[in-house]
Amino acid sequence: MIHDAQMDYYGTRLATCSSDRSVKIFDVRNGGQILIADLRGHEGPVWQVAWAHPMYGNILASCSYDRKVIIWKEENGTWEKTYEYTGHDSSVNSVCWAPHDYGLILACGSSDGAISLLSYTGDGQWEVKKISNAHTIGCNAVSWAPAVVPGSLIEQPSGQKPNYIKRFASGGCDNLVKIWKEEDGQWKEEQKLEAHSDWVRDVAWAPSIGLPTSTIASCSQDGRVFIWTCDDASGNSWSPKLLHKFTDVVWHVSWSITANILAVSGGDNKVTLWKESVDGLWACISDVNKGQGGVSAITEGQQNEQ
């Protein structure tokens, strides 16, 4: 069972990960599907993969039920494991690379309730910072805030390098979405967003073009998808808006590159696309049906999956 499929920055490669413990990379240019690599190294179902920004090379991170996070790198045309992190006590559920402006940093959320941040310090060395007990019972998803100062689109540039504050959002089994902020090298919990009545399955921080509003989408076992918005640059007052109450668990939410379309995937295995109208109401603009609009399909060979 494939658990995640992510396209790289340029849209030329697709990485998939599966319960058969493999991570596969395909070349999907021009509608083709050529298997480039079949990466083995995990001992359990692999839950998520994430591509790093191409300025750092071809780097892919994967996390699995076997409590490991593996970072793979393509060197001279072959993919190899470049780092393996085993500092979690339980299944690692989510990995997300930080915006490239902050460097090469990976956030990993695990079922042991902790979130680790792996930063590449050079020469094959990674520094680890761990936030313990980020969520009781476990953390299911992490998502970084974009490296854009809110309001920068319409304000006069000061000419100085913008002072970024690193933030990310996490969703966990304590039904909360938490926002974490880095202050003086330490990660602190900045906000606790409560609205869900069951495990939060996915969070996604919307990409920004510099407007003053920040937006986060979260979805949960209770079937609800909330859109959280914060209008002030300091990030203090987040207000939720219910997108929709689905009849079953919602597994994934994902923002489009320009952040104006949200894709939601639920327990009924349907994907819907949502967009905000001018008066602030969210409406479903499409119900993606299998087969409609599909330009190519990639089939993995029959796996000897258990």
Binding site: S18, Q156, H252, S265, G293, Q306
Partner: protein, 522 residues
């Protein structure tokens, strides 16, 4: 027989005496217990409402062996297939991950617990669920050592109220404490197939699900849900957003847009056609603002046609294009403004004045020749002031202006003022003369007002006849723009600013007049 009662084969019951009762407490209700309000309520569900919604309709369909397409269906079909492992052991639900099934068997005095998979087709010492450990909340097996004062994990979950299955958990807790004789702790210990004891973690995705993410270039990556154990190959679909959204309004607008305005790639005819299309469809020409916004589009068309170079008179032509309605700029009565130098003559020869004595308006009998003759006659006698006066009153401006220009400056400016006062205040000529006299025209402060009339001729006249003082020109146009903006005619104001070459500023800055939305300000 109640289809939900566990048809445990008698064998296991005999073999495992003590836990047999506990076994029967499995996910199904024991008939001995008071039946739950909904007898078919299973132990695990997404929530009371969700389950019932799925459950009831499907009852009618019969238990056909179709692949469960969703989680709820999945659980239902699972119930239909009796939960036992192929070795005949009864199986219980893992409450923690809500879908992991476990079987336990007692052999050689020890319990073996096998954690498993959702498919239920086979049981293996699972390596896919990870290094496994006793699946805790299996009620009959969770050891409650009497000595332990700590509440059991089950109780903890129930009290924390965190999970929606806490209700079910609570049932188990009641059951286990009432009816279960706990085995002495030492009598059994779960045998783990893997050597590393790890805390049990729920599987992130226990069921088929659809991972979705957006990719570069307007693509949507979608994984079709599949059951690999049943031989379904895994499919990942790449969708094009353009195709999915092709019938939305935004998509249509986007496709109609000719593209980035780069000279090499885009022919100017396409841009001009696009602008004209915009004028036709989105500008409401019946309102002033609609006309002004159409004017901005027309400016773009003109710029394209002239390859970016514009002279004042080109814009003036554009402005006057639609000014079909030539306004009559009503002249003011000249008499009221003239300084009366000689009352007698005024009364006798005033144009159209009421005769104070008789109350009649004397007929205008003077012809041009007669006026000039009179003018000359006055000058024979050196009565220049009276001659000027006479000339002004009789619209003999050329003569008056020449004469006064050769006299002192004060007289000249008097005559000039007299002349300009014959023009209406909102006459574009007035605007031009004021500008040429070195002042910011009054029109710059008054236009936009409905009574003042159309602002366009005024701007036209200022643009075509730029005076030497560039700063004055600039100031005049900008003042006009500010006035228009103050009156709410934003498009007109922007047109003026563009003509004055005001640079685009930033939205946040109060001093900036215009900001180009969406442009990169870095």
């Amino acid at each position: 027989m109640d289809p939900w009662a566990p048809p445990w084969p008698p064998q296991p019951r005999e073999r495992h005496a003590a836990p047999a009762e506990g076994w029967s407490r499995g996910p199904q209700r024991d008939p001995r217990h008071a039946p739950a309000p909904q007898p078919r309520r299973p132990a695990l569900r997404a929530g009371p409402d969700a389950w019932d919604e799925y459950h009831r309709p499907r009852r009618d369909r019969g238990r056909d062996r179709h692949r469960p397409a969703s989680r709820a269906e999945y659980y239902e079909s699972a119930y239909a297939n009796r939960p036992y492992s192929r070795w005949g052991q009864p199986v219980l639900w893992c409450m923690l991950c809500r879908s992991c099934w476990a079987a336990a068997s007692l052999g050689k005095g020890r319990w073996t617990i096998w954690a498993c998979f959702p498919e239920m087709k086979h049981f293996l010492p699972s390596s896919l669920c990870g290094p496994f450990a006793p699946v805790l909340p299996m009620a009959p097996l969770s050891p409650q050592p009497p000595t332990s004062g700590k509440p059991s994990l089950l109780l903890q979950y129930r009290e924390s109220g965190l999970s929606s299955s806490s209700y079910e958990l609570s049932q188990y807790i009641c059951d286990s404490t009432d009816h279960y004789d706990p085995l002495p702790v030492g009598a059994w210990s779960p045998v783990q197939a893997a050597s590393t004891p790890a805390p049990v973690a729920p599987q992130k995705f226990p069921l088929p699900h659809v991972p979705v993410c957006f990719g570069a270039g307007g693509q949507l990556v979608l994984v079709c849900p599949h059951f690999p154990a049943e031989g379904q190959p895994a499919h990942v679909e790449l969708h094009s957003l353009e195709v999915i959204l092709h019938d939305t309004k935004e998509q249509e607008e986007l496709q109609a847009f000719p593209g980035p305005l780069a000279r090499e790639d885009l022919h100017k005819v396409d841009v001009m056609t696009f602008c004209q299309h915009k004028i036709a469809t989105s500008c409401d020409l019946s309102t002033q603002r609609g006309r002004d916004s159409a004017l901005l589009w027309k400016l773009l068309v003109l710029l394209c046609r002239q390859n970016g170079s514009m002279v004042g008179s080109d814009t003036a032509e554009l402005l006057m294009q639609d000014c079909k309605r030539l306004e009559k700029y009503k002249r003011q009565n000249p008499v009221a403004n003239l300084i009366n130098l000689s009352d007698d003559e005024w009364r006798a020869h005033g144009l159209g004045t009421v005769d104070l004595l008789t109350g009649e308006v004397p007929p205008i009998v003077e012809t041009l020749a007669q006026t000039v003759e009179k003018f000359t006659k006055l000058l024979y006698y050196g009565r220049k002031k009276e001659a000027l006066d006479w000339a002004m009153r009789n619209q003999l401006w050329g003569h008056a202006l020449f004469l006064s220009s050769k006299m002192d400056p004060r007289t000249y400016s008097w005559v000039l003022t007299g002349f300009t006062n014959t023009l209406a205040a909102n006459d574009p000529l007035q605007t031009l003369f004021q500008l040429m006299s070195g002042r910011v025209p009054q029109a710059a402060q008054c236009c936009g007002d409905a009574k003042w009339g159309d602002w366009r001729p005024h701007l036209a006249v200022m643009l075509s006849n730029k005076v030497g003082d560039a700063e004055l020109n600039h100031r005049a146009i900008v003042t006009m723009g500010d006035t228009l903006a103050g009156r709410g005619l934003t498009e007109a104001a922007h047109f003026c600013y563009l003509m004055a070459n005001i640079p685009f500023g930033y939205f946040g800055e109060k001093a900036d007049r215009m900001a180009l939305l969406g442009s990169s300000h870095r």
